[in-house]
């Protein structure tokens, strides 16, 4: 059996390791198009602040890890897939045959259609190569404009601020991290960042980037008419699944590659996982591209089990969730954090102390949550959502004090009180 995996990110690597475990005799090959060993993009901000070196971003720390598992990691780029002949074409020439193919090609930053985006010195923060460029330009006192305050923008924001640059953030939405934080939390994060000396423009658009004057490299023009001087521009305006190489194939694509609950694409020998896959969302029951680390890990493992013939490995859906540290203010959101139709909620809001917790219920089941400034036991929010635990009387207590989520979980599931048969 020949397993071929396109993409050397977390999904591809976990799939390869799982395949090796399940099928010791099979051939397992990963094709990745970056020069470094498989690494984590999530770790790049920590590289930028010097918390780790480049090797600290590597997904596997042992240099002999892949060889030891007889996983062949090749550097090349796949330019096309011939599903009839079951082979992929490589940019470096030649083709690789497969019996089962996993597409884990991830996503890449989109470049917004703004005049001047083609000027040199504007970088995304997506690859190790990008991080090296940014590290050179983001020196103390440099004027840096960060376009986009989404999740990726915000994790870079922290790294940039710690490097001592004079930082300005421009975000189109009316708050920071709009796809992860509600209005209250997103604006508290903005206020926090401003208090830490970061200039934040929300509901603002960059309309043009022009060569700068007075020794500055760029002049960044906003729709309000404001012009920002910049030495370095970082673009974090969203990502898109890498699917272009599949054009003309029989693999169906919507926002990402459409997969079923066994991670299979419209072609029975081809699977997809991670940021490129449009998989089942636990909360909505719909298929969407989540583009988050835990989902990439789940997808990779499930895809591998199915590729190895374990048909019982059915995807129950991934809970969309994220955690973010913005200059020391930690926030997270889970599932239907924006609320369910006909649902109700519980809320604690202490803006003076930058604390916020919002719980969303459907009947007596937790379906979503947003937290800010609270880091203890936040994982239990995921647990309660994904187990669909009936909270019964605990819902009312949570509406009085939403911080008691851990007690609600223990009281609903463990040998405490009623469950122990003591009451």
């Amino acid at each position: 059996m020949k397993h071929l995996i396109i993409g050397a990110g977390p999904s591809g690597v976990i799939a390869a390791e799982t395949l090796r475990k399940l099928q010791p005799e099979a051939s397992v090959t990963i094709v990745g198009d970056e020069p470094e060993p498989p690494y984590s993009r999530m770790a790049l901000p920590y590289l930028l602040i010097g918390k780790i070196g480049e090797e600290g971003t590597y997904l596997r720390k042992d240099a002999g890890h892949f060889d030891g598992l007889r996983i062949d990691v090749r550097r090349d780029r796949v330019t096309g897939v011939d599903t009839a002949a079951r082979k992929v074409q490589l940019a470096g020439g030649g083709a690789l045959p497969y019996d089962r193919l996993l597409i884990a090609t991830g996503s890449r930053p989109v470049s917004p259609p703004i005049p001047g985006m083609d000027l040199s010195g504007i970088y995304p923060c997506w690859t190790l190569a990008d991080a090296r460029h940014i590290a050179r330009g983001a020196v103390p006192g440099a004027k840096v404009v960060l376009m986009g305050a989404g999740f990726i923008g915000c994790i870079i924001l922290e790294a940039l601020a710690k490097r001592g640059v004079d930082l300005t953030v421009v975000e189109m939405a009316d708050r920071m991290v709009p796809r992860m934080m509600d209005n209250i939390a997103g604006n508290l994060i903005k206020k926090w960042c401003e208090a830490k000396g970061v200039h934040v423009h929300t509901s603002a658009k960059v309309v043009a980037i022009e060569p700068g004057t007075g020794g500055r490299q760029f002049a960044v023009r906003l729709d309000s008419g404001t012009v920002l001087a910049a030495d370095l521009i970082i673009s974090a305006t969203g990502v898109r699944s890498n699917v272009e190489f599949l054009q003309g194939s029989d693999i169906r694509i919507d926002h990402g590659i459409l997969i079923d609950r066994q991670m299979r694409t419209s072609n029975p020998d081809v699977y997809a996982a991670g940021d490129v896959a449009q998989g089942l969302d636990f909360s909505t029951g719909e298929y969407s591209v989540q583009a988050i680390q835990p989902t990439a890990a789940d997808h990779g493992q499930l895809a591998a089990r199915n590729m190895a013939g374990r048909r019982e490995a059915i995807h129950r859906g991934s809970v969309n969730m994220n955690v973010l540290d913005t200059l020391g203010l930690i926030s997270s959101s889970f599932g239907l954090w924006m609320g369910a139709k006909d649902g109700d909620s519980a809320e604690l809001c202490d803006p003076g102390r930058y604390r916020y917790l919002n719980l969303q219920f459907e009947d007596d089941v937790l379906v979503g949550a947003t937290s800010l400034g609270l880091t203890e036991h936040v994982g239990v929010l995921r647990g309660l959502i994904q187990t669909r635990t009936r909270l019964r009387g605990w819902k009312e207590r949570l509406q009085e004090d939403p911080t008691r989520v851990m007690e609600a979980y223990l009281g609903s599931t463990q040998a405490v009180g009623f469950n122990a048969g003591l009451i």
Binding site: P10, I14, S40, M42, A43, Y46, K51, I52, G56, T57, Y58, L59, R60, K61, F282, Q293, P294, A297, D298, Q301, L302, A313, I314, H315, R316, G317, S318, M321, N322, V323, D325, G328, I330, S332, F334, T375, E376, H377, V378, G379, V380, L381, R382, G383, Q386, T387, R388, V405, M406, E407, Y409, L410, G411, T413, Q414, A415, V416, G417, A420, L422
Partner: protein, 156 residues
């Protein structure tokens, strides 16, 4: 034989000696907020529940870590955080459905129960036998995990 922490809320009096012992063992501080085991207070019922990582087989934290900073100690079965490798991204803190991996602001890393390498200080400190370190098949963990399994299990 692997051993595990057996937690019996019905024996807990809420004295918090486990939290002090854990904090001192791991952080050299008597500071319950640094403890990896927590006693939850059900004051309406006059009851307490000690709770910490069950070293679950699914190891959500380990699988979600982007940099391989959480590993299994083959001798104790504990899932341990390698502090040198952890970058502090906190993904494990949202992935753990039991809420037992937490971020430590002082170190900039995450922390969780590591069974103290096979001699859990909390169990030694507990005066009422609410926390004991016993053969894994005596812990009732299967029952606790079965609950988690019902909905979480098949997604990984």
């Amino acid at each position: 034989m692997l051993r595990a922490l057996k937690l019996e809320p019905e024996r807990c009096t809420g004295c918090l000696q486990c939290e002090m012992a854990c904090s001192f063992e791991n952080e050299q501080l008597f500071n319950p907020s640094k403890s990896r085991i927590k006693v939850f207070n059900f004051h309406d019922d006059g009851r307490f529940a000690p709770y910490t990582c069950t070293q679950c087989a699914e190891a959500w934290c380990l699988h979600s870590c982007p940099v391989e900073a959480i590993v299994i100690n083959a001798r104790t079965g504990a899932k341990e955080v390698l502090e040198d490798i952890c970058v502090g991204c906190k993904v494990c803190t949202i992935a753990c459905p039991f809420g037992t991996v937490n971020y430590n602001h002082d170190t900039g890393k995450v922390q969780k129960c590591d069974l103290c390498g096979g001699q859990p200080a909390c169990a030694e400190a507990c005066p009422t036998g609410a926390i004991t370190y016993v053969d894994i098949d005596q812990t009732g963990l299967d029952r606790m995990r079965a609950h988690a399994q019902r909905s979480l299990g098949a997604s990984a």
